[in-house]
Symmetry: none
Amino acid sequence: MPELPELTVFADNLSKAVVGKEIVKVDYRGKKSVKVPTEELTRSMVAARIDKVQRVGKQLLVRLSNDATLFIHLMLKGGFVLTKTEELQQLDAVILAVSFADGSALALTDPRGMATVALNPKRGEQPRDGLKVTADYLQAACQRQPNKMIKALLVDQEVIGGIGNAYSDEILWRARISPKSLAGKLPPEAIDALVEAIPAVLNEAVEEIRRRRPDAVSGEVRDFLKVHGPDLKSSPNGARIIKEQIQSKVTYYTEEQKLYR
Amino acid sequence: MPELPELTVFADNLSKAVVGKEIVKVDYRGKKSVKVPTEELTRSMVAARIDKVQRVGKQLLVRLSNDATLFIHLMLKGGFVLTKTEELQQLDAVILAVSFADGSALALTDPRGMATVALNPKRGEQPRDGLKVTADYLQAACQRQPNKMIKALLVDQEVIGGIGNAYSDEILWRARISPKSLAGKLPPEAIDALVEAIPAVLNEAVEEIRRRRPDAVSGEVRDFLKVHGPDLKSSPNGARIIKEQIQSKVTYYTEEQKLYR
DNA sequence: GGCCCTAACAACGA
DNA sequence: CTCGTTGTTAGGGC
């Protein structure tokens, strides 16, 4: 569930909580042999300090003082817990447990066990972040994949980093564009509307989440969304909300949104 | 159109006609720069003798006395013409014209220009030939792609070499298996039925074609097929033949064929 | 709700 | 009725 807004807040709050701390113990219980050889992970982390925590697309990047870098993806249900070393064992569904020299601890948890940790991954082309989308960039992306539905393009992490199912619906409603519009058919006005809507929706969500859950490092608040959600019946303007599977994703939209095909 | 049976007969007949002959002239008029650099082709062929012509999957392999190897794919409409050198220029749609020292000549023709010639292609893993499919092999292939429709698997040249759209329908009817069955759902009896049907259908077709067109090096006879064909209304047992697009291919089958899903 | 992998399908070209 | 490639969608598994 966590998308750009939640992850931005998590990154800020984790920074405040753990930057500068020295790691004294690491316990990885994630999927065996998938992303990280456990010993290598421990070796790379113990005795280092945490220099920085920042969001990169839908992942959190944790940079250590020894130049090792962790990439954490929360997938559907992952989250963090800030606690003390002696209370770590009480936690359920721990993927990665990190203990600090001062007795505090940080755990990555996921009831579904899907969250991933990657150590120094080699990364290719970095996608444009959701907060940095320009009209030129979006225009070019739409030209490149003209027959792709605009919703598919917005949630494509190789095109724009950070937007998921929920916020794509919010962005498209704000821009008054149907999720089923074809990218190549969007006129310049529609591109402009998206370029306005993307950071507006995301930044407003960041602020709302900060206000409501100032220390959040897990979970989500989604009750301020305007069209995406099973309990919403109509948009702020009174239009009936349509729920439909689009690309295997539950999508909410209204007739206010123009279909370009 | 030509599939394993036609190509088997063509290979036999070409062998009889041209093996041992010395090539004196080569004229390639295929797609420029696609499969063969023309000069290299001429250089490799002139002065050599033809040692062997054999079918490999849906292609014909022509081995020359200088160890050069030609792979010819007839695609949809390609075929051969055995003629004399002085009559070559009367032919239409010639892709490759080869003149022999004795005044005879062989032309590869294709009205659509799709037939291809490859010189000494580097070939990776060779697929199992349609005439050499065993239960173990087919079983393993079905396990590897369990969600693939069995018709798709049969015509996949990386799995089995030589079977195309028409004969896949004949084979599936003989085995009484619906083309839309999923490979991974076929029980051992169904695998066995296929392993019986594949060579039976193909070999019977080879014999029928030999009987009807003993010298064929082009074209096709398909009027002996039992379910695949636009004019057939019912199978030999009287079941109504269903015509349906399956994987973008016109497919004929009947309700006699069991669907495993 | 996320990502990856496989497969289906359409379109075009050769 | 062929094959290859490209682009997009749909489904299942973790």
